[in-house]
Structure formats: C-alpha cells, structure tokens
Point group: C2
Chain length 336, copies 2
C-alpha cells in the first residue's frame, strides 16, 4: 500500500446466490479526506458475515443492495487517524460500517462503538462483543426468551453468532444442543462452548441423533440455516416453542423460493412461533447488550474463537468460504 | 327419538384427512343419568368446526384423538333438564363440550358458559358469541395486534371465525381484505361483513387480485387455510407483519407433511412472525372476549350468518361439507 492510496474491495458484478471472489475487484482509490465534522478511520479488521450475501443480492431483502462499483458494505474496526470532530480524537478505537477498505472518512453517526476497553483484542469488537454477540443476545433473550431447564437448539452452533447463543443459554441454565458441520466444529462445541450435545449435520444419522438429543422437545430453536437442518428441528418443537429466524445460510439461492415441508400445522399444534429479525433494527439495544457480553466474556462464561485471514486480498473469497463452512470461529480480515 | 333413549354420533373408523359421513355411526344409547353434583343437558344445537378434523386424526395434534366407538367430541348448546347441583338449576341454558348427542350428563366443570342473555338466539352462543368469536377475538387482538390503518387479510373471510376477524379489525379502523371461495361468499364479505376488498381464490387471477388489494403490504394475516392461498399472502407481508396460524383448512392431509415455498427468508427480511394458537389453551380469556363480542353484536358492529341443518342425521356428513365450502355462515345442527 502506498501511503496516499486507499485499497478498496468493490462489487464487480451482481451474484445470484452466494458471492464468490470473482464478484469483487480490489482497486486503489485516492486516500479519503475527512470533511468538516468527519473523522478518518484506518481499518485494522474487516468483518465477514453470512449476511453479506443478502447485501449484494438483488432480491427480497432488508436493505438496498450494494451498487456495482461501490465499496463492499462491511463492519470494520479501526482507529481514528485524522479528526475534524472534537468528540472523536485521533487514536480513538471504533467500530462501524466502514466497508471493505483500508481507510474510511465518515460522519461520527456511522460509528457503532467507541472501543474503550483494552483488556481484550480490538477484533472482539467485531465478533463476540460486536454484531455477532449482540445478535445472539437480542435474538435469544428478546425473542427466544428461554427459561432455565428448557432445551435450546442452535444451528451453526460453532459460528460467531451460534456459539454466543449456546453459551448465553447455558449461562441461563438451559440445556443446549448445537448443530454444526464436521467433527472439528462438533468438538469445539462440546469442549469450548459447553454445549450439552453437539450434532454433525453431515452424518447420515443426523436426524436420529437430533431426535435423541431433543427427546424432551425443543423449546427454543435459534435458526441460522433454514433448509433441511431446520426441517428436522421443527419436527421436535415443544408446546409453546419459539423459533428465531436469524439467518438462512444453508440455502444458496432464494430466487425462486425453494420448497420444503410446510410448517403451519406444526406451528398450530405446538402453539409455536417463528420470528425473523434483523439486528440493525435494534441499535438502541446495542449498548446494553455489549455491557452484558463484556461482563460475561470477562467472567469466562462466554468464550470465543476467531479465524483471521491476513490482508485485504483475502476479502473477496471470504464470504464463499464462510458458506462452505471453512472457518473455525469468527471470520475476520486483518489489515497489516 | 324415544323419550328414554339418547341418540349419539359415534366415531366408526379413523379417517385419514377429512372425516366423511361413513366414518360415523348414529346409535341409540340409554338416557344418561346425572350422578351427584352433575347435570343432565338436553342439546338444542350441535356445533360443526373445521377443527374436528384434527380431533379424529391420529397424527400430530393438540388433543388426544376421539376413540373409535366414542361419541364425537363437539361443542353444543342446550338446556339443563335435570340437576344434581344447586348452582345449576333446571332451565339454565349452557354451552360446552357436550358432544354430538341429544343428551349429556356432565360435571359443571365441563360447562363453558351460562347463557344469560335472551335477546339473541341460543345458537349464537356456539358461533359469534362462542368459540368462533372468541377465537377471532383472541387471535386477532392478542397475537395479531393490528393498529388503525393497517391492512388485515383473512383467509376463509366469510367463515364463522373469519367474518368475526374481519369485522373486529374493521371496527378498529383497519383496512380489511377477505379471501373466500365463490361469488356468493365474496358478496357476503363485501355487503354484510364490510370488508374493503374480497377476493375469490377460485378465480384464475387470484394472485393478481390479491397483489392489487395488498399493495401497501399485509400487516396482519389471519390464516385459516394454509396452502397455496397462504403462499400468495406471504409474498406481500409488510415489515413487522404478524401471521396468525388458526387453521389449515386447505390441506386435506398432513401425513406426510406437504411441501410448499419456504417461509424463513420472507420472515427474516420482513422481520415478520408466524404464530400458531389453540383457543382451548385460553379459557381464562373467554369471559372477557364474550363480553366484548356481545356488546359489538348488539351495537351492530359485528354481524353473523348461520347455516343450520336440521336433525342429528345431518351431523356425520357435516364436517366434509364444511371442507367443501358448502356452508354460508356458521354451520350448526339443530335438534328438534
């Protein structure tokens, strides 16, 4: 990187389904200059989320898709290196939607958080103490509302969100069941995230194992996958169950809408609910959630894993690799 | 009927899917004799509900299926003709799960309601002022929570439950859209139940008509049908929409579970919920709901239609005819 250039990952073409490396270009743009009231942020970590698939797809979604040629929308964590705003001095560590790029000049309104703790790495502000932890906290506690002794099932149980869900539920006194892909993640779920059971959906007897782990019924299902994994979980819903729809990672393409077993009868006879949510609707909840999460991480009640790739050149292919399940922990791109 | 015999409709064989006339027998049993603390009720009206399909099916359900040879489980309205309980004198009009039979000897705990109004026919205690009205009241107000100006769509909009839902929503200041089968019901929805729009799902351009009626998005969908009707409605959910799963009348058989378009992505991007309920879980709400409904019927804000068949011999075929959509209003069997 030359000192006065800003490397950016821009959307080159619109993917159908999961974005691959070839849907992005890395370009060099001029170093941005903050206007009055703005700050210049140097990104140290770029985040990679399953939700980014939706941010670039043209179909039914919750935000305007990233335009062709635009910097890829992304959470990032960095440090203010120039400031035109008295409240945001140089050296302040911040997170926000700064995009897949080395530098961003932004209004302070774009900043999600001033990272004022230094006993934990800055990277955690994007994962367990960032959008992933907050998503887990809100979805599980506000929508799932688990009670001690209830059974909580999490799809992508080893993931950045799922691992938090499982540990928050465990801390509450729930019985926790992870669904995950492969033996390494299964072991991580059991050994590190403290699940009572962890099931590999790639095993031929997945359905039988799940049935066995959910004999008393599933009170809360935190769903990050949709698809055939969810179809099995839904069969075991307890009366009054809550299904939290957080992501649909197992379905590559929603256009046209794929078919699956209808859920209406099961929701009726089990008096159960399915509810979707998008965490960005709930920014007013972030601070309280972060406070809880920070305490729980410091107490050791929540552990986290990170899977860090080095260099912006890793960004374009990182979403597809996430969907292939290649990450073990929160996927991040480290810059220099 | 001889004076000391009790004609009963009993389950003769277990149907798969919708029960037909041949799944029942009419038998003559001895007149029941109330034990200490019991009352003897002479039924004047027997109720016919879509839910009775579930009560006789062996698969996933919310109550133990009616046994072969047992009296068909049913709501009924009648009069106490003999009493062994001081609180329940002869002549009291009551409703409850007295079954498809002429007489029932029951504990007072089985009684749902003492019908103490006489400005409306006793039959209304089974429909608009009974389980149907209460179902509409609870589902719409407690789960749907519509706000004035919001769009409320009701499948089986002309039915005993649906027509109440539409009128309660209209009274709240909502825009109401009925989905119904055939021109006669469509006209009933518009002329008598005051819907802003009514759409015949049997028309070839149903999807286009629905899209047109729901251009601003569907805030509340009160679903009595499931199936392809619901698939169209779900496409139009507004952000924050609530889908109330009350019945699944359009699906004849849930074993095996039929397939349809997956709802997870739509629930996610619309931050919407689907929730099933069974009104019998909420008996503590009945009295308050009845009070509202009685007031609204007396005010003329809620109108009702009844479709009354004469004689117990009509009972066995009445559920199948309901599923064929042959009734225009609340289906009841009148005894003598």
């Amino acid at each position: 990187m030359s000192a006065n250039r800003n490397r950016q990952v821009v959307l080159a073409s619109r993917p159908e389904g999961i974005p691959q490396a070839e849907h992005f270009n890395i370009i060099e743009a001029p170093m941005p200059v903050p206007s009055a009231g703005q700050v210049l942020i140097r990104n140290h970590f770029l985040s990679v989320e399953p939700a980014m698939r939706g941010w670039v797809n043209a179909i039914a979604n919750y935000s305007t898709p990233v335009g062709i040629g635009e910097v890829m929308r992304a959470f990032a964590a960095g440090e203010i290196v120039a400031s035109m705003h008295p409240d945001w001095p140089v050296g302040t560590r911040v997170t926000g939607m700064f995009g897949w790029q080395e530098y961003a000049a932004v209004d302070p309104a774009v900043i999600d958080e001033r990272v004022d703790y230094d006993d934990l790495p800055l990277s955690t502000a994007l994962g367990v103490l960032g959008i992933n932890g907050i998503t887990a906290h809100y979805g599980l506690l506000k929508i799932g509302r688990p009670q001690p002794g209830q059974t909580v099932v999490v799809s992508t149980g080893a993931g950045a969100v799922g691992s938090c869900v499982g540990q928050i539920a465990k801390r509450l006194g729930c019985r926790t069941v992870a669904i995950t892909g492969g033996q390494a993640k299964r072991q991580l779920c059991l050994d590190r995230f403290g699940y009572d059971a962890a099931i590999d959906y790639k095993q031929a007897d997945f359905a039988a194992q799940l049935a066995d782990a959910c004999r008393g019924g599933v009170d809360v299902y935190f769903d990050n996958t949709s698809g055939t994994i969810s179809d099995e979980v839904v069969k075991h819903l307890a009366v009054g169950a809550r299904v939290i729809i957080c992501g649909t990672a197992s379905i590559a393409n929603w256009d046209p809408t794929p078919s699956g077993p209808r859920v209406e009868r099961q929701l009726l006879v089990r008096r159960a609910s399915m509810q979707g949510f998008v965490i960005m609707d709930h920014r007013d909840q972030y601070a309280a959630a972060r406070k809880d999460l920070l305490q729980w991480v410091r107490e050791g009640a929540i552990r986290y894993e990170e899977d860090i790739l080095d260099g912006i050149a890793q960004a374009p292919g990182s979403i597809a690799s996430l969907y292939r399940g290649e990450n073990l922990g929160k996927r991040l791109i480290r810059l220099r």
